[in-house]
């Protein structure tokens, strides 16, 4: 693995060296690497932040796995991961973790004759569709959830996301929570072995495949459904209520989560309680070392995250991401002050 992380580190180093030679920037760029899911919003924030402060961000969206490897190898100031690391893993490498931004996955469908949101599904039914047990749209299990909706007898074409991704993790995590059967046969991970269906690459691949195939069901990030005006299904959440995917229902899921009592904020926001919570919601996480080797760089990074919590909300919403609630941001700031320190034990982030 050493070879791999060195290979991945090369562009970062090259970028830093390039900066040193050019010598135009007042401060070095903040360097980070990891998850691809939050990349558009991090890039947008970085752009605005650079205009305001002159400090740039060099974020390599190489995937969560790569981000975790790089922060462990200390080649970047922060790593980013879609799935939270477990407490043991954080302790082992003395890492601090917090949630930065949220998003959600939405079941996208292509069923002739239905309007967006008209169809409602629940977790167990969705799991059985992805296990290949429900094969027709007019199956009694779907009909029971949709009284008064005219369902066609079209065969269900299951579409999943083939590349390892945070969206996969959220979706399979949700299905594993609501269906013991799914947990046993498939399980939850960024890539899983699907018993049925066809794999498309990326959100755009899944969206395209669903649009092209009559009777298809897939799952994509909320932004894709909204921006492409796709047909989607509502879900029945843990409280037994019908919910539609929107910023409000994502935030409800975050607000109802127990952040304060979960070490490393490792809350996976799927199937959260609360009447308005969208059940397939998730946060993307940032990782930094507890004892930083370069306090100046760490301080710059934390300043950027602080700015993003305060001022990044609008831009995140414009891109159909969901900003963290202010209460969570306050908790995270306290975590920074208490845990991220320089060699002398002094907190890196002032304020």
């Amino acid at each position: 693995m050493g070879i791999m992380s060195r290979f991945l580190a090369a562009p970062v180093l090259a970028a830093l060296v390039g900066f040193g030679i050019a010598g135009v920037a007042p401060a070095a760029d903040i360097s980070g690497a990891g998850a691809t899911f939050p990349y558009p919003v991090y890039a947008k924030w970085a752009d605005s932040y650079k205009k305001e402060t002159g400090t740039g961000l060099n974020y390599q969206s190489i995937g969560s796995g790569g981000g975790i490897k790089q922060i462990k190898a200390k080649t970047v100031t922060f790593g980013a991961s879609d799935a939270p690391l477990k407490e043991e893993e954080l302790k082992q490498d003395a890492l601090v973790q917090w949630p930065m931004i949220m998003g959600g996955a939405v079941p996208a469908i292509n069923v002739p004759g239905l309007n967006p949101g008209e169809l409602t599904l629940d977790g167990p039914t969705l799991a059985r569709m992805y296990l290949g047990e429900i094969t027709k749209w007019n199956d009694p299990a779907i009909a029971a959830l949709n009284k008064g909706v005219k369902l066609p007898s079209t065969a269900i074409a299951v579409v999943y996301r083939s590349d390892g991704s945070g969206t996969n993790f959220l979706f399979t995590n949700y299905l594993s929570k609501v269906s013991k059967d799914f947990e046993g046969k498939v399980g939850a991970a960024a890539s899983v072995q699907w018993p049925t269906g066809i794999g498309a690459k990326g959100n755009e691949g899944v969206a395209n495949m669903v649009k092209q195939t009559a009777g298809a069901i897939g799952y994509v990030e909320y932004a894709y459904v909204k921006q492409n005006h796709m047909n989607y299904a509502g879900l029945i959440n843990a409280a037994g209520k019908k919910v539609q995917p929107d910023a409000k229902s994502f935030q409800a899921a975050a607000a109802n989560a127990d952040w304060a009592h979960t070490p490393g904020y490792a809350v996976i926001l799927t199937n959260q309680p609360g009447a308005e919570s969208w059940p397939i919601t998730g946060a993307s996480f940032i990782l930094m070392h507890e004892k930083v080797e370069d306090p100046a760089a760490a301080a710059e990074a934390l300043k950027f995250f602080d700015w993003a919590y305060k001022k990044g909300g609008k831009e995140a919403e414009a891109l159909d991401y969901v900003p963290m609630p202010a209460s969570v941001a306050d908790m995270v700031r306290k975590t920074w002050a208490a845990h991220i320190k320089d060699a002398n034990g002094k907190p890196v982030h002032a304020g």
Binding site: S64, G65, S162, D163, G197, I198, G205
Partner: protein, 324 residues
């Protein structure tokens, strides 16, 4: 010349010595370049072996014959990607070789001189299109076309036949093993065409014209004169195309459906070695998972090496038989 040597022997000798030295340096330099390739290859093989070792130790020979690929339980087997790689490459060759041959034959034997250059350039341009473009075109244009027009037809006709019917059954998804094979066939076409055309052009006009003079048809000339003369080059072109088909990543990833399953139907989704790596490497977190993906890479290396060796052996066998 003799006068010169007598006139200034020392200067000439020193000059000759200098030339000799220059030649020696030149040999070292170019030899060094060649050695660099060997070192690079050796280094890559060693690092892949090193990376693949944990997976190979864990799964042993079972890695080659297991279809399961489950990141959750960390059980990995390479059978489905190996199968997909071979099947898509075979389809690509079934499409690419006859087409490429036909084009090359037309260009060298029958084509009006006015068309020869534009057609040749068009084929070479196909080789210049980046594979991601083929992938996007395959996903947004070719796949829907196959899904709505070609696959339903195949399912209703060929799918009903005994034996080969099994190859064309199941729902028409548009993407799948067949689509990936077709895209690959188009992608290898320029390699096969360009090389076979170039070697066909090396056949001495004397041979060709003698055959025509004897009253041979174009086909007879090609089969009995041109092909035997250019065998080595033609096989080389096909192998280059096959090498590309085996290793092609991006275009295949878009259209193959990416399922670690072996299916009897060509319309069903599958996966290839390089597509599996491209899909999963970024978010592979466990050590065994990463190692299994690297082991897949090692397998592709072995398969490609095996194919090239087989081609060399076949060629040598052919040459020997012709010599006898």
């Amino acid at each position: 010349m003799a006068d010169l040597i007598i006139a200034e022997p020392a200067a000439t000798l020193s000059r000759a010595g200098r030339y000799q030295r220059q030649d020696r340096y030149f040999q070292w330099l170019t030899g060094g370049f060649a050695l660099f390739v060997l070192l690079l290859l050796g280094g890559i093989v060693l690092s892949i072996l090193d990376g693949a070792w944990p997976a190979l130790r864990q799964f042993g020979f079972g890695f080659l014959v297991t279809e399961t690929w489950n990141p959750v339980t960390e059980k990995f087997g390479a059978l489905a990607p190996i199968f997909g790689t071979l099947v898509t490459s075979i389809i690509a060759m079934l499409v690419g070789v006859p087409l490429g041959f036909g084009i090359a034959l037309f260009l060298t034997e029958r084509c009006p001189p006015v068309l020869k250059r534009p057609l040749g350039i068009a084929v070479e341009l196909l080789a210049g299109i980046p594979s991601i473009i083929y992938g996007i075109w395959g996903l947004f244009v070719l796949a829907p076309f196959l899904q709505h027009h070609v696959q339903p037809f195949l399912i209703d006709t060929l799918g009903e036949l005994p034996w080969i019917g099994a190859l064309f059954q199941g729902p028409p998804y548009g993407i799948g093993v067949l689509t990936a094979g077709l895209i690959l066939g188009i992608m290898v076409l320029p390699f096969i065409t360009a090389i076979t055309r170039d070697v066909f052009d090396t056949v001495p006009p004397l041979l060709r014209e003698s055959a025509y003079g004897l009253g041979c048809t174009t086909w007879e000339v090609v089969w009995n004169v041109v092909l035997p003369y250019t065998r080595a080059g033609v096989v080389g072109g096909i192998m280059l195309g096959l090498g590309r088909a085996l290793g092609e990543t991006m275009a295949v990833t878009f259209v193959i459906g990416n399922a670690h399953r072996i299916s009897g139907s060509l319309l069903a989704p599958g996966t290839t070695i390089s597509a599996a790596i491209a899909n999963e490497f970024t978010e592979a977190t466990g050590d065994l998972y990463t190692s299994s993906l690297i082991a897949l890479g090692l397998l592709l290396f072995v398969i490609t090496f095996g194919v090239l060796t087989a081609a060399r052996l076949m060629l040598r066998h052919l040459e020997r038989r012709r010599g006898a």
